[in-house]
Symmetry: C2
Subunit: 382 residues, 2 copies
């Protein structure tokens, strides 16, 4: 299959590109390398030293016989994006190329507006290109479980069948996104649903949970193929951050009471979910939604698990409760469906102590590069 991966230089995009390439698919990644610029802007960076996009692409080309190429394109540039798509003729487009950090979107007004316009314009450009020159191509779009917020009823996969005053309809699941970033994903979802309804496009919206883990089999093949690893307050996610804190003997920093419950997924399952979606395309006119996570944990659960694993490695790993910089419920109902990808063959890698130990050991190996001042939350929702 010819698969274009936008955002293919990123934390999820890069391992996805390598995994799909190894399955024999023809891959092109497309990226503007903006994620690397944000490292400079914020004075942060991957804990594992990162080769350039050119270096990692050249390295992978030595490891595969399938065509594998890269486009340096900003999705907001319609002409450049269209040119790449006309040239590559993808059968599926996996769209990761968005600003994906909630704290980054909440830094200030400029970052909020950047996040919303960047994400919306990139996706609209893609939808118009598909309408005009690739109407049969399958869009696989990364959304987020955060779109749903924390409703007091079960979360279903994208749609909800509602019985109301003796009538019934299946409607888009109501959304209560908790940041300017999550809002941008909700806007995308509405725009894509419209394009499927009105233009008969086909799309799969993958509402991904919080991703943890670092490497996949492919990224471990050679040091130049490594995935990036973020632990800072802006781009680091809870489990990865806790592991770094444990490795440098810093207390694990839980925001608020830690009762916030979310869906989580291992990066090794992310790459497999994308392949499952590609091999089982949506129908013309259909916007299919899958909830892409494998387990639910509260933030406190995660901290306890990291603490236990760290203690096994001889670390103390105390737990600190910080004032929560976000506006969110710290105790709430949370029960979200996630059966559709399983039904299509996903075999989850569940979180175990071995996995946590691997992350902590990776952080220990890079210990001298950890910049503790970048972990404490400074961006506030209030």
């Amino acid at each position: 299959m010819r698969i274009l991966i936008t955002g293919g230089d990123g934390f999820c995009g890069w391992p996805t590109a390598l995994y799909l390439s190894r399955q024999g698919h023809q891959i092109a990644i497309l990226d503007n390398e903006m994620r690397r610029e944000w490292d400079h802007e914020l004075g942060i960076g991957s804990l594992i030293p990162l080769p350039t996009m050119e270096e990692r692409v050249a390295e992978w080309q030595k490891h595969t016989t399938s065509p594998f190429r890269a486009y340096h394109v900003d999705m907001r540039d319609y002409d450049a994006l269209a040119t790449a798509i006309i040239e590559f003729q993808p059968e599926a487009i996996v769209h990761f190329a968005e600003q994906r950090s909630a704290p980054y979107s909440m830094i200030d007004r400029d970052h909020a507006i950047f996040t919303q316009t960047n994400n919306i314009i990139g996706t609209l450009n893609l939808l118009y290109i598909m309408k005009e020159i690739a109407p049969d191509c399958h869009l696989i779009k990364l959304g987020t479980m955060g779109e749903y917020g924390t409703p007091n009823i079960d979360i279903e996969e994208g749609y909800l069948t509602i019985e109301y005053k003796g009538r019934t309809d299946t409607l888009p699941y109501p959304k209560q996104p908790p940041s300017m970033y999550h809002l941008s994903k909700v806007h995308d979802t509405h725009n894509i649903a419209f394009a499927c309804r009105s233009w008969n496009l086909r799309a799969t919206d993958l509402n991904q949970g919080v991703v943890y883990g670092v490497q996949t089999e492919e990224t471990l093949t050679h040091p130049l193929l490594t995935n990036r690893f973020d632990y800072d307050e802006v781009f680091g996610t809870a489990l990865n951050r806790f592991c770094v804190e444990a490795a440098v003997a810093h207390p694990l920093t839980v925001y608020g009471q830690g009762g916030q419950t979310r869906g989580f997924i291992n990066i090794k399952d992310t790459v497999r979910c994308i392949e499952i979606a590609a091999l089982n395309p949506a129908q013309p006119g259909e916007m299919r939604v899958y909830n892409q996570f494998t387990e639910e944990f509260s933030v406190q659960d995660l901290a306890n698990r990291v603490q236990h694993a760290a203690q096994g490695l001889g670390f103390n790993a105390s737990i600190d409760h910080l004032t929560n910089p976000r506006v969110e419920l710290e105790q709430h109902y949370y029960h979200a469906a996630h059966t559709k990808l399983i039904e299509l063959g996903l075999e989850p890698h569940l979180l175990n102590e071995e996995e946590i130990r691997t992350i902590i050991q990776m952080a220990i190996a890079q210990k001298d590069r950890v910049r503790m001042e970048k972990i404490k939350p400074t961006v506030t929702w209030r």
Copy 2:
């Protein structure tokens, strides 16, 4: 009350400004006059000759003793918008200043992206200004009934109490907007709800139906105070367009079967609804939603009513069914709640033959200015 009206030079904004001024409120309008530029872009214009913004403001100042002023500001310009708000210190901000035509948003990709970014950025700028310098100000935001689409269950006012698998919650009403413009309003709604939840702002979102009618008591006071009147395919709404067609002995052009049912409101009620919202502000942290329309009609109903009124004036007024340029259901369930503004005191002007005759007679008076080639739909959703 000090009330700022953004988009105060427009079809709804101008009569609202005059009405509120006449009730004794201190009014500032704020507008970038972009609506007038779109007339040039599309080669269209108000059927009633329109004075400049400067002329109409100067004229109204002769008719009122309350302070009444104008700011020439683009809402995407944060600094200019903030400066106006700091200077005027509004207690309520009525926000009409958006691109409000579905066909305009569907002309092509550029117009779609313009509509979404223009509307989103203007509203985000306003929300950030309120957060930072006017946290107690009441935002009265114009949304649209079109946000809901045509679900197969009753439409409620912004929220839906859902019982599901033995649990219950009141959630944002699921949205299925039918154009890039309607999508932009849904995006705004989510952004505003977030600002109320996270920043404790207060907002009223008025989901307005299709507005018909032209003048109010105030706009009739002097020719320089007239409202604009659009009948073209891009900015004209169904009833107004039918009246112009009748006046020039052209068949009334119904899109498709005409079974599309929508909520409608007289411009005289629009201005009153805004005052009701202003006098009864939302609570801090609350985003209140009112459905702002008074009656439901199908497009065919409207055509029949205009035909009847026109025949009473001696016109033939046949009805033509055109291929529908939009992607929408032409037969569907439609039942939408609209009691909250009534409960607060709205006394609706219902559509009667007198009202339709007035519009037709206005069109007859301006008959020589009608440009028939601008009525036929050329913008398509497909």
